[in-house]
């Protein structure tokens, strides 16, 4: 089908507002009578709360409410309902909120917070999930089994194990016995912060008469947050009203109730006055959520020619003190630890363990970063030991169309091979090059990834064709910053046949825009794109029927293109606006089309009995190839070049795909080489950007984004997704390149300058 917008790098529809400073983010929301919130946070990692004295705080001029956990004794949780809005009986991590103040000014709220007195009884704390899983460890949630949770997540009562899961397919022992070599390796991946430039924020207003909480938020899934809040407070869904703002970045971090929870607790007591809560950067870094830390063991059987015969994985994930989306990360992440490789016999054990640390949750990749780190580093180890080219060993084992995934789903693997071929070619894989100059040594590495999307999940939308021919698309997909509005507007424009600039996509409003699972899991283009496509086709049909009626023509002979209706027979052309005006005259009217996409009935996800939930409606493939230069005297690793090839199905907007790829590469470099939490008894010492270092413009390598288009049979115009898989191959590609340069293998992240030098000195002591 010919398209006017799909497939083109049209500029972002939200760019004008953003370059002029007019875009309203959550932190910019101002309402009449608005109060400001501040939070009292725990100085201890694990302690019983004996007493909270808020009397002095309430006397601070301008203070309107001082709220503790006992005043607002509710808990929430998306997967396991384990998290209090404000700590009640005990605190479970340093900086956990335990009281909050609403006041006329931020300064008064802060002053009052400092006047709240708390008596604690300190409890033994545990920070390593492996120790927390052992018998005798301090128990963090005494009544774990009593928490509401989905039966999908197996809790182990009496322990800190929040989710335990095992899965196997084939006969691992048989597979291992068929191997010529067995590789056993352990890997570690560290927690990292999302650091969206806009910290967590919320403005909440409680209308006492209607019992409705209105929440302004830049969260990534307004329906999920509203649902979880309603569920926590015993309200119906329509009593928690989310209004999305623009978002200053999410990366998974805005996929939980964070500032919203504090705002709700305060607004309950401010007699209708709205309350604004904005996290400081220190709060963002220490008390929002982080990527799950993971310890991974991989045992792999391989034939001499590189054929994989069996793989066994054991993963221990750090949940932190509360669950957020940890249980699903531990489940979905574990499933792809075997990589994009055909492996006849597999088994994994995945356990998610509570510790006395900041909660862990979704982070761009949703577990894929962790497992790809282990899988792809080990593929390199295997290739090196067996003397096989790392590109060849991957090609040899890659899924082919028709191969079965670990749950029996038949794979659509087109695109996978192409990502590897193009990325390795771009980096000059196998070519001779000058490897060292003085202290500087170069190397190259590659890594591939497989990433699915949460399946089955649903998206709904409405398209309104207004009486003047302008179009409003009602969707709950937020603009998290990745170009959602632009891509969806392109799909709408081509599905209906109208100009892009006639389309407006307002920010989501859960009282108006219909359900969407969320801007998560790289699902928006595919799922909401499909919903919009359906709704677009409906309104297009109706427009043509109306036009036929108005013009006295045959609707089958009418075309709608760029907002113009043309009669194929007479070649007579009328604008959509004219048709709408003729039809609705002065009294007005609307053409309304709805779209609902669900992959639930698609044959693509057919799998073996009961394990359909492990599959994915589409699989995203990617390969990154990196070239690094290591200063062997200082340990400085300079990433010179990264070629990043991604199978996106079809690039609805190639420039937006490039943004995702280039941005992920930078984030990947940052995660891999610079970012690291420094902890002291559960306290994060580097709680500002002065010491939590993320990549700057001076750390930018040459990035070559490569878009591969395999055309998904059920995707809108063939599209799949791109936001998440772009990050996970970067770390192993860099580590594999460092190995190529130095012959030193780093199995633990991050690979800081100091660690590189230390490893070099261990191997080659200075004379």
């Amino acid at each position: 089908m010919k398209t006017n917008y799909v497939g083109k790098s049209v500029p972002r529809v939200d760019a004008l507002e953003k370059v002029t400073g007019q875009a309203i983010y959550c932190v910019d929301v101002e309402l009449p009578g608005m109060l400001y919130g501040a939070v009292l946070r725990s100085p201890l990692a694990h302690a019983r709360i004996i007493e909270i004295d808020k009397s002095a705080a309430t006397r601070v001029p301008g203070v309107k409410a001082v709220v503790t956990g006992n005043d607002f004794p509710y808990t929430f949780g998306h997967m396991v309902k384990d998290q209090p809005f404000l700590a009640m009986d005990k605190v479970r991590y340093v900086n956990e909120p335990l009281a909050a103040v609403a006041a006329d000014t931020e300064a008064a709220a802060q002053e009052a917070v400092e006047k709240i007195q708390v008596k604690y009884e300190e409890l033994p704390a545990v920070f390593d999930p492996r120790k927390a899983a052992a018998t005798g460890a301090p128990i963090i949630h005494e009544n774990l089994e009593r928490y509401d949770h989905s039966s999908m997540y197996k809790i182990v009562p009496g322990t800190n194990v929040c989710t335990h899961m095992t899965y196997s397919r084939g006969d691992v022992d048989k597979g291992l016995s068929e191997a010529d070599e067995i590789f056993q390796n352990e890997f570690y991946i560290h927690p990292v912060a999302h650091t969206p430039m806009e910290t967590h924020a919320a403005v909440v207003q409680h209308d006492p008469s209607g019992r409705v909480f209105t929440v302004w938020s830049s969260t990534d899934a307004p329906y999920q947050r509203a649902k979880d809040l309603a569920n926590a407070l015993g309200l119906s869904f329509n009593q928690v009203h989310f209004l999305s703002t623009y978002s200053g970045g999410g990366f998974g971090g805005k996929g939980a109730i964070v500032a919203e929870g504090i705002g709700v607790a305060l607004a309950r007591f401010t007699k209708g006055r709205p309350v604004k809560v904005v996290f400081s950067r220190q709060e963002e870094l220490t008390a929002s959520q982080v990527r799950l830390e993971a310890f991974l063991k991989l045992k792999t059987g391989v034939k001499k020619d590189g054929t994989l015969t069996a793989r066994v994985a054991e993963i221990t994930w750090d949940n932190g003190a509360y669950s957020s989306k940890g249980p699903e990360v531990a489940r979905r992440g574990a499933m792809t630890i075997f990589g994009p490789y055909r492996t006849p016999h597999i088994r994994f054990v995945s356990q998610l363990v509570y510790t006395n640390k900041q909660p862990s949750g979704a982070y761009r990749g949703f577990g894929t970063n962790q497992v790809t780190w282990a899988c792809e580093a080990q593929m390199d180890i295997i290739a090196n030991k067996l003397g096989i080219n790392p590109v060849e060993i991957r090609l040899k084992n890659f899924y082919q169309d028709g191969d079965r995934y670990i749950n029996g789903q038949v794979m659509q693997a087109a695109g996978l091979r192409e990502t590897l071929e193009k990325a390795s070619q771009e980096i000059g894989w196998g070519e001779q090059y000058s490897r060292s100059t003085g202290a500087l040594v170069r190397g190259k590495g590659i890594a591939t990834t497989i990433k699915g999307t949460a399946t089955p999940t649903d998206s709904y939308c409405f398209i309104k064709v207004n009486f003047d021919g302008s179009i409003t698309v009602l969707t709950s997909s937020v603009e998290i910053g990745a170009g959602q509005k632009t891509v969806l507007a392109q799909i709408a424009a081509d599905s209906i046949g109208v100009p892009l600039d006639s389309i407006l996509i307002p920010n989501p409003d859960t009282h108006v825009t219909p359900f969407d699972f969320g801007v998560t899991s790289s699902r928006t283009t595919y799922h909401m794109g499909n919903a919009i496509r359906m709704a677009g086709q409906k309104v297009r049909k109706e427009i043509l029927e109306i036009a036929a009626d108005v013009l006295g023509a045959n609707p089958q002979r009418l075309l709608l293109c760029e907002g113009k209706i043309m009669d194929k027979d007479s070649e007579h052309e009328v604008s959509l606006k004219e048709i709408m005006t003729k039809k609705y005259g002065g009294k007005g009217g609307t053409i309304l089309g709805d779209g609902h996409y669900t992959p639930a009935r698609s044959s693509i996800i057919n799998a073996e009995h009961k394990i359909q939930w492990m599959g994915s409606i589409f699989w995203m493939w990617a390969t990154h190839a990196a070239e690094v230069e290591v200063d062997t005297e200082t340990g400085v690793v300079k990433v010179l070049r990264i070629a990043a090839a991604h199978d996106v199905g079809r690039a609805i907007n190639p420039m937006a795909c490039e943004q995702q790829i280039e941005g992920s590469v930078i984030m990947g470099i940052s995660n891999t080489l610079f970012e690291e939490f420094k902890m002291d008894r559960g306290r994060i010492m580097n709680d500002t950007f002065a010491d939590y270092k993320v990549a700057s413009m001076l750390d930018l390598p040459v990035i070559v984004p490569i878009i591969v288009e395999s055309h998904h049979s059920e995707g809108p115009f063939g599209a799949k997704g791109i936001g998440e898989p772009a990050l996970s191959p970067t770390a192993p590609a860099i580590a594999n390149a460092i190995f190529d340069a130095l012959g030193i293998r780093f199995n633990e992240l991050p690979i800081t300058r100091e660690k590189v030098l230390s490893a070099l000195r261990e191997r080659d002591p200075v004379q």
Partner: protein, 157 residues
């Protein structure tokens, strides 16, 4: 302790009452309601709050409002002139230099100061100039392209 100060913001003179402990950032956002200037850390480490003071980029979170007395302040809201976008605003749109947009005002203003001083600025100079602004979307490559598009000289320095 109230202090009355005079300052010019985006060409418009303002006389405002403030206190000495109010930063320029807070004055712009909360008193003058110019929310295009963003706060990302409040500690001078992220660059989101950069505005131009007498044409030079500064972190407005680390400048007291009283020190803006008598100075010319330019915020992102002041870049559109007679309804026309500044060439940098145009190139940021066209080159895809905007993702979440939170660092965008700071990037554009810093780039403006650079190009006002050196219209031929090359890639290395652009990188140095913008190195104090974090873009977590990681859009650095396209931001550099956008600044280079708006600069006169395409040659690297």
């Amino acid at each position: 302790m109230k202090i009355s100060i005079d300052l010019t913001v985006n060409g418009e003179r303002h006389q405002v009452d403030t206190t000495p402990w109010i930063t320029l950032l807070e004055l712009l956002r909360e008193t003058l309601h110019l929310t295009g200037t963003k706060e990302g850390c409040g500690l001078g480490e992220c660059g989101s709050c950069i505005v131009l003071v007498d044409g030079r980029p500064v972190n407005s979170c680390l400048m007291l409002a009283v020190d803006a007395r008598g100075r010319q302040i330019t915020t992102i809201e002041g870049l559109v002139s007679n309804g026309d976008l500044h060439p940098l605003q145009q190139s940021f749109i066209e080159k895809g230099a905007v993702q979440c947009g939170f660092c965008t005002p700071a990037m554009i203003l810093s780039a403006k100061a650079l190009l006002d001083e050196n219209p031929d600025a090359g890639e290395e100079e652009i990188k140095q100039t913008l190195s104090g602004i974090i873009c977590r979307c990681g859009n650095y490559k396209k931001i550099i392209e956008a600044v280079r598009t708006a600069s006169d000289g395409k040659a690297d320095s």
